[in-house]
């Protein structure tokens, strides 16, 4: 069985500062990794995904994430955040166990950007 741990439930940061949202996973097989963002009153939106290839993945809105297999991590980073990045961020992992790619989500990290 796979699981996802998002180590921080809330991350406050000032505008234009860098941010890292941490995600660790556990799985016994090869995985696919995702970050989703949920803005207030909206559905989840895919930020980026790692399926294979380069371990550094670039997504929308200036976000990127790095897959580290040895540390089973997929941390999300942005070098300079905006007020508009205030949202909840979900890390997710999926593999072929059970015959489908249904993702397992973490508990979410609330990013709060202060002016």
């Amino acid at each position: 069985a796979q699981s996802v741990t998002q180590l921080d439930s809330q991350v406050p940061v000032f505008e234009e500062a860098p941010v890292e949202l941490r995600c660790n996973y556990s799985s016994s097989v090869s995985v696919y990794l995702f970050w989703y963002v949920q803005y207030p009153n909206q559905g989840l939106q895919l930020l980026l995904k790692y399926l294979s290839g380069s371990t550094l993945v670039k997504g929308i809105n200036g976000f990127e994430a790095e897959f580290n297999k040895s540390q089973t991590s997929f941390h999300l980073r942005k070098p300079s955040v905006h007020i508009s990045d205030t949202a909840e961020y979900f890390c997710a992992v999926s593999d072929l166990s059970g015959g489908s790619y249904i993702p397992t989500f973490g508990r979410g990290t609330s990013l709060i950007v202060h002016p």
Binding site: V4, S9, Y32, Y36, N41, Q42, G43, L44, Q45, L46, K49, L51, F90, S94, G98, S100, Y101, I102, P103, T104, F105, G106, R107, G108
Partner: protein, 115 residues
């Protein structure tokens, strides 16, 4: 193109009552998923439709939950009778690909409160 829509956005019902949630996926998406997030916890998978067929319903908590997708278009999720622990946000998502790795597009969710 319209996104995934869900109705109602909020529902407050008493324990023992019945509630029906509706999801309209993106037109042409054969895959439809239901998820639930209990406050502060992970987003948990409930079930997956491919057209009108239930592909995977391993996440359905018990037989008080009934999901349908008549004609392979919109889907309903009925909770009867509702219990306090059913409170949470119910998300619907749809995707085009059949592998499950096709990007899932999420609706804004229905917040269900059982009192």
């Amino acid at each position: 193109e319209a996104g995934v829509t869900q109705f109602p956005s909020h529902s407050v019902i008493e324990k023992g009552q019945t509630v029906t949630l509706r999801c309209d996926p993106i037109s042409g998406h054969d895959n439809l998923y239901w998820y639930r997030r209990v406050m502060g916890k992970e987003i948990k998978f409930l079930l997956h439709f491919v057209k009108e067929s239930k592909q995977d319903e391993s996440g359905m908590p018990n037989n008080r939950f009934l999901a349908e997708r008549t004609g392979g278009t919109y889907s309903t999720l009925k909770v009867q009778p509702a219990e306090l622990e059913d409170s949470g946000v119910y998300f619907c998502a749809s995707s085009l690909g059949t592998s499950g790795l096709g990007e899932q597009y999420f609706g804004p969710g229905t917040r269900l409160t059982v009192t």
